[in-house]
């Protein structure tokens, strides 16, 4: 579908997005820092969650990139070749590894971000038009229009956009709208040392992701799968999509998100029927009964 044409852009350029390849993420959080620095996102609590190396918790008004850490008792992959010991900690004592294999332990790390959905619920439900589709195909909040109604917050199927408490307005990733306008890549992608975060034209990123997942499957990483790549999913595909090594919910992502406004025509029909029922029912209470 022609997203930009439908959004009213004539002679629009390509749609841009992110491909986040979590298989090469090292959890350094450079993306979190770069995002905060570039966008002047305020500090949102220096908390110790105690659950993992993730002391950020999740995306919010003041966290536009969030690195998830998951520890699992599972080998990273089952490659044909002999594994090289990378010094990854194991559950066995040194020298006691069974059959020369490394301990069954892996870390999953993933940098989460706004998905910039093709069918974006936040944009659909925004009553002021503060949320809009940019010429790059991304979804951005105009902070001078937002009146803080908060409707976009429960509308987002991914739990991305949120309200800043002291300011009342909603904030989220803009895919560095200002940098894109100057032909620069977003700050997080720029800062990523392993190219886990890749920025580019969405169609090209999708091809690259398909090649990467095939490569990983060939290398024995059967868990590798793309998330948000499919233009036929419940949100019409994500502008920011991922390569994951486990089920999405393990990373805190919904397994089958659907844009809530898909059901809106049905909701209005039912509300119309209910309104007529109310009108008819209450009118009937005035029908004089002969005694």
């Amino acid at each position: 579908m022609d997203l930009l044409g439908e959004s009213g852009y004539e002679d629009a350029g390509p749609r841009y997005g992110f491909f986040t390849d979590t298989s090469v993420c090292i959890g350094c959080k450079a993306c979190e820092v770069a995002c905060k620095e570039w966008n002047a996102v305020p500090e949102d609590g220096l908390d110790f969650t105690g659950m993992s190396y993730d002391n950020t918790g999740g995306l919010s008004a003041d966290t536009w990139r969030h690195v998830a850490f998951i520890e699992q008792r599972k080998p990273l992959a089952a490659p044909e070749t002999t594994a090289v010991d990378l010094g990854i900690p194991s559950f066995t004592k040194p020298g006691e590894e069974q059959d020369g294999q490394q301990g069954e332990f892996r870390w999953l790390m993933s940098s989460d971000v706004c998905k910039h959905c093709t069918h974006a619920a936040c944009l659909d439900v925004c009553p002021t038009g503060a949320l809009f589709r940019t010429e790059f195909g991304t979804v951005v909040v105009q902070e001078d229009i937002c009146n803080g109604c908060g409707y976009c917050v429960p509308a987002c199927p991914y739990g991305v956009i949120d309200q800043r408490e002291d300011d009342g307005r909603v904030w989220k990733c803009t895919l560095c709208y200002d940098r894109l306008g100057d032909g620069m890549e977003p700050a997080c992608a720029k800062a990523c040392p392993t190219e886990s975060i890749q920025f580019g034209e969405l169609s090209e990123l999708r091809e690259r992701a398909d090649r990467r997942v095939a490569e990983l499957h060939d290398a024995g990483v059967g868990d590798a799968r793309l998330y948000g790549r499919d233009p036929d999913d419940g949100v019409g595909g994500d502008g920011a999509f991922f390569l994951l090594l486990d089920e999405p919910e393990v990373y805190g992502l919904p397994p089958d998100p659907v844009v809530t406004t898909r059901d809106l025509p049905s909701m209005w029909r039912h509300a119309g029927a209910a309104a007529l029922t109310l009108l008819a029912g209450l009118a009937a209470t005035f029908v004089r009964r002969s005694r």
């Binding site: 429960p154 393990v250 919904p254 209910a274």
Partner: protein
């Protein structure tokens, strides 16, 4: 609780479905929960329903010459819609930017549609009440009364779309029946006000409306819960569960007391009317809290989506 555990005599909650197995990120929610304050937004849902249905009853009372009933309902509608507007604006993060609501008309946003419905309804409800209380401009008053009466059902029902058009599992999954629950609850509230504030002789339509509202709300709620499955659970647990149980008792009790005995006893009318009003408020607060609870627990997001994927996979063979 559902009838399938009816043989059990224990009062403890019986699980309707076995505890679902699911994975999550350290048990953290997938969704960001609504930022709305319960008093503001659940209050808004209640007051909007009260106002909308009151205007319908007021128009009927006006046309059939029940001036006392019409006057109290018109006044109630104006007070309720003013209160609901105050709650709505109060809950905005930037209240001074309320008028930004009216800079666009967006059919894809129930809040935008609602803002325009309120912008059309509010002034008519206001004119209807003021002309009724002062006796000025009776013809203008009649036009406004009928206009508010025709828009009233939209005011009462659109709020169901407002909450359902979100990713909040319990609100979204109930989207087919929610407008009927809200319509019934609104009728109950307006009927309660009518019974409470009007002499017995004029309140017969309000008494019938109480029975109609309660029947509609209870039936729709039952259907909604049976269709929802797992995401109906938050309606029965915790704060929401208590509110919903109170709502059912008050709504049914109020309708029976006020609706059946309120024609003979003023006390029954007053107590029944108050119960109907309170029942409507409990329903809205209960549904509000259930939605928030469903957003806070990843189970209600992950398990139904997993089931949907499994069904799709099975359908594909």
């Amino acid at each position: 609780m559902s009838g399938n555990t009816g043989r059990k005599r224990g009062r403890g909650e019986q699980a309707m479905v076995p505890d679902a197995e699911f994975r999550s990120y350290y048990g953290k929610p997938v969704l960001n929960k609504p930022t709305w304050a319960a008093a503001d937004i659940a209050g808004y849902l209640f007051l909007g329903g009260l106002a909308g249905a009151s205007s319908v009853l007021a128009a009927g009372a006006d046309i059939t010459g029940r001036d006392r009933l019409a006057e109290s309902l018109k006044t109630g509608a104006l007070v309720a819609i003013s209160g609901s507007m105050f709650a709505l604006v109060h809950d905005l993060g930037k209240p001074e930017r309320f008028l930004n609501m009216l800079r666009v008309f967006k059919p894809s946003s129930p809040m935008s549609v609602g803002s325009w419905i309120l912008a059309c309804y509010g002034p008519q409800a206001g004119i209807a009440a003021v002309t009724s209380l002062t006796g000025w401009f009776p013809r203008v008053g009649r036009v406004a009364t009928v206009g508010a009466g025709l828009l009233g059902p939209a005011v009462a029902a659109y709020t169901a779309v407002l909450v359902s058009d979100t990713a909040v599992p319990t609100w979204h999954d109930g989207h087919r029946e929610m407008p009927f629950v809200f319509a019934g609850s609104a009728a109950g509230a307006a009927a309660g006000l009518g019974m409470l504030a009007t002499p017995i002789a004029q309140a017969a339509p309000a008494r019938r409306a109480a029975l109609f509202g309660a029947a509609l709300e209870i039936t729709a709620l039952k259907r909604m819960k049976s269709r929802m499955g797992l995401t109906a659970e938050p309606l029965e647990k915790g704060t929401a569960g208590k509110l919903m149980r109170a709502a059912e008792a008050l709504t049914v009790g109020g309708a029976l007391l006020g609706g059946l005995l309120g024609g003979r006893s003023r006390t029954a009318a007053v107590v029944g009317g108050a119960a109907s009003l309170a029942g409507s408020a409990c329903t809205r607060f209960g549904i509000f809290h259930a939605g928030v609870a469903s957003a806070e627990d990843p189970k209600y997001t992950v398990v139904p989506q997993r089931e949907r994927l499994a069904e799709a996979a099975a359908a594909q063979g």
